[in-house]
């Protein structure tokens, strides 16, 4: 496995993914702010949470790239469409499994059923993160497919 290729393209792919998600918010497709969502696990301060969240997202994105690289090796080939396919599966997992269990993971997130409490005050994402805007799934899928395509297109197996 090429560690340098994984680190480089994992990082580049995550930067592009983060930019697409932020751009989707700026363009009004979604309210979801991934850095804020992640950063509020550690701090209540809005500005600081976003900074922490960006750092977390870059690290997590690079780690996820390891799974993509493992899949490419198992396949015996990379390529942009293979990466995009894994990205599609990845985004489906995030939306269908990851988002609904967020209230169980995030220490500040309220539950849909119990409502807000003194310690859990953040709006839960709901199924497919639709609470954050009806077009949220579109931007999540798009961002992950591009992330996978970049990884697949540039990752070198040897």
């Amino acid at each position: 496995m090429s560690v340098a290729s994984w680190l480089l393209w994992g990082f580049v792919g995550t930067v592009i993914l983060t930019t697409i998600m932020a751009g989707s918010q700026t363009l009004g497709l979604t309210r979801m702010n991934i850095p804020y969502l992640l950063g509020t696990m550690f701090t209540a301060n809005r500005d600081r949470a976003k900074v922490i969240g960006v750092g977390m997202h870059l690290v997590l994105g690079s780690l996820f790239a390891l799974l993509y690289a493992a899949a490419f090796h198992a396949w015996g080939a990379a390529g942009w469409w293979r990466g995009a396919l894994i990205g599609l599966v990845h985004s489906a997992f995030v939306l269908v499994v990851g988002m609904p269990i967020m209230p169980g993971i995030h220490p500040r997130m309220a539950s849909e059923y119990q409502g807000p409490t003194a310690t859990r005050q953040l709006e839960p994402p709901g199924p497919l993160a639709l609470h954050y805007g009806v077009q949220t799934p579109v931007s999540v899928v798009l961002a992950h497919v591009v992330y996978g395509a970049v990884l697949g297109g540039f990752y070198r197996l040897a």
Partner: protein, 618 residues
């Protein structure tokens, strides 16, 4: 639903946005997320279509209100035959330390309803109408997470412990409250998900207390100890509320299209920052001891003017950009049928030569207060001086911004003189090197000669608005306020007498001028405060200054707020409300009165310039 008039409103805000709350318990104006954003509630401009959020007794009531002492937190008491409720309204604001500790909504309005006597049936109507009542939205009930007004990329979250339900595109409900019982309401704005949803109890009460403490701490820094302290501090609180905290800019007013003449077309958008107001605002803030806010304002001016240097626009948005072009909203009927409703302001394309002097004079006040400039700022100010030297003879639209007419205004030339005089002072104090001093000095003296020769009318024994005419204007009082003429000089005294004779609407109120006045126009609040300021500076007896000032205070509404104008016939406010510049005039007049009474100077008005002028004129 009772239709409120301008005087029935009070303002709440968080130094980013503001809401107008009527004495009938209705929030009839709110633009989010900032002052010049589109409206969420605009019943002020169209009671049917505009949208509102009202909470009030279902039965007939009498209401009385006040700001909680030294805050911008509003308390309204509603008395009915069966009981009394008290509603406390605030747009919460928090200290820096609190923003680190608490999950705060991006913007929020909180309302706390407490029954203090008997039993009262409380009725709530929440009618959001985003985008000046033009934007489509979906209203959803998310159970324990509240009601959501989904506008695509942004949403409004409306929560309460009252029993409420959706009725078409509104939310409504009634609930009977008994003595000691309370209802809590929160409406927050979210463009970032996940949105914070703090539990209403004790969040609403805590937010009100936090905001009250923040305002109290801020106003506690005021150094004013003169008479009418409450009115002066209320004005200071309003100025702070109208300050856009992230940039330091101050918007002229939080509203658009409140008419200068009822039923007329003089309806303008004031949710922007006018350079014209700069130096008097800086004087007011420095005079009250708010050096930090005054410096932020000067910083904003310098930053903003860099973008278009050396030419200046008349107005900018809170970040120093040009506002979007002016447009009409034909679907809104306007306040009391005063059409059209406009958003944006075409005055941004006007030429107003006075703004150059205003920016320089505000910078001079910053230096007098102990500030300093970098070399780039000094170069910018020098460029403004060179621009003045090239253009001071040009006709312009003038301080009152009439559309389509450019004339050589005495007031604009005065401010050109003020600008050059200020630059010479800056040079004398070592803040402006490598400037064309001889050019500045010669032009300054040429402007003085021009005003003294051609803007003075011998027959009238008065300065005049336009050289070689007989037109008067209240802005001529600025000749004394900026130190061009001594307030007690014979020329200034007789000019004041003529203004009073010809522009006085009654004993206390002044029209700006006759050329722009028409049937139904109001008198300008700032003109009366200029007059009080002028008298206090030595233009007349102290008692006369005090009488005028106190008479004006009597024309504020019940919570101490002024609009731009006052109808001399009814005493009712007209124009955008509340207007920062009128309150700047109030503060400056009060500061001058206090100086005269105490024989001390807190505003550092003319002394420094006189020294500099003597040195240079030497």
């Amino acid at each position: 639903m009772q239709e409120a008039s301008i005087r029935d409103y009070a303002i709440i805000g968080d130094c980013r946005s503001a809401a107008l709350v009527s004495r009938f318990g209705s929030i009839d104006w709110l633009c989010w997320p900032r002052f010049d954003s589109s409206s969420l509630f605009a019943a002020l401009l169209d009671p049917i279509r505009g949208g509102r959020w009202s909470i009030a007794p279902a039965e007939p009531f009498r209401s009385q209100r006040r700001y909680l002492p030294n805050t911008n937190v509003l308390e309204t008491a509603f008395e009915t035959d069966t009981g009394t409720i008290r509603i406390v309204d605030a747009i919460p604001i928090a200290s820096e330390e609190q923003t680190f500790r608490l999950l705060l909504p991006e913007h929020e309005v909180v309302r706390l309803v407490v029954c203090t006597r008997g039993e009262v049936e409380v009725e709530t109507h929440f009618e959001p109408r985003p985008g000046y009542a033009m934007k489509r939205f979906a209203l959803r009930d998310r159970g324990k997470l509240g009601f959501w007004v989904d506008m695509g990329s942004k949403c409004i979250i409306f929560r309460s412990d009252a029993a409420l339900s959706i009725h078409a595109d509104s939310i409504a409900g009634r609930q009977r409250l008994r003595g000691g019982e309370a209802l809590r309401f929160s409406m927050s704005f979210s463009s970032d998900a996940p949105a914070p949803l703090p539990p209403l109890d004790p969040w609403v009460r805590d937010s009100i207390e936090r905001s009250g403490a923040w305002w109290e701490q801020w106003i506690g820094r005021a150094k004013y100890e003169g008479r009418h302290r409450d009115a002066v501090l209320r004005s200071a609180l309003l100025l702070k509320l109208l300050t856009y905290a992230p940039s330091g800019a101050i918007v002229a007013a939080p509203t658009t299209s409140l008419p200068e003449r009822l039923g007329g077309p003089l309806n303008w958008d004031y949710r922007y920052c006018w350079l014209r107001d700069a130096s008097f605002t800086a004087r007011a803030l420095f005079g009250l001891g708010y050096a930090e806010e005054a410096s932020a304002l000067v910083g904003w001016l310098i930053h903003t003017t860099r973008l278009t240097r050396p030419e200046l626009r008349t107005l900018y948005d809170v970040f120093g950009n040009s506002p979007k072009p002016e447009r009409v909203l034909p679907h809104l009927r306007g306040y009391r049928d005063s059409r059209p409703v406009r958003v944006g302001n075409a005055a941004q394309c006007q030429i107003q030569l006075d703004v150059y002097g205003e920016v320089i004079e505000a910078s001079v006040r910053f230096i007098r207060a102990g500030g300093s400039f970098d070399s780039e700022t000094a170069a910018l100010l020098k460029d403004l001086g060179v621009y003045i030297c090239k253009h001071w003879k040009d006709p312009d639209n003038g301080i009152w911004e009439p559309r389509g007419i450019r004339l050589p205004h005495t007031h604009s030339r005065l401010l050109c003189w003020v600008g050059l005089d200020g630059l010479l002072e800056l040079h004398w104090k070592g803040h402006l090197r490598r400037a064309p001093l001889e050019l500045f000095k010669q032009t300054r003296d040429a402007i003085r000669r021009e005003i003294e020769l051609h803007s003075w009318n011998d027959r009238l024994q008065s300065y005049v608005r336009i050289p070689e005419t007989e037109e008067l204007d209240s802005s001529l009082l600025a000749l004394a306020l900026y130190g061009f003429e001594a307030p007690s000089s014979p020329r200034m005294r007789s000019t004041f007498d003529r203004i009073r004779e010809r522009l006085g609407a009654d004993d206390w109120l002044f029209y700006r001028n006759r050329a722009l006045a028409a049937e139904g126009d109001g008198a300008f609040g700032i003109c009366s405060f200029w007059a009080a300021h002028y008298l206090a500076q030595g233009g007349g007896p102290l008692s006369e200054a005090r009488d005028l000032f106190e008479a004006m205070l009597g024309l504020a509404n019940d919570v101490g707020l002024f609009a731009e104008e006052i109808d001399p016939r009814s005493g009712c406010p007209l124009g955008n409300f509340p207007q920062g510049f009128t309150h700047v005039g109030l503060i400056n007049a009060a500061l001058s009165l206090h100086e005269r009474e105490q024989g001390v100077s807190v505003t550092d008005d003319r002394a420094s310039r006189s020294d500099a002028a003597l040195e240079i004129r030497g």
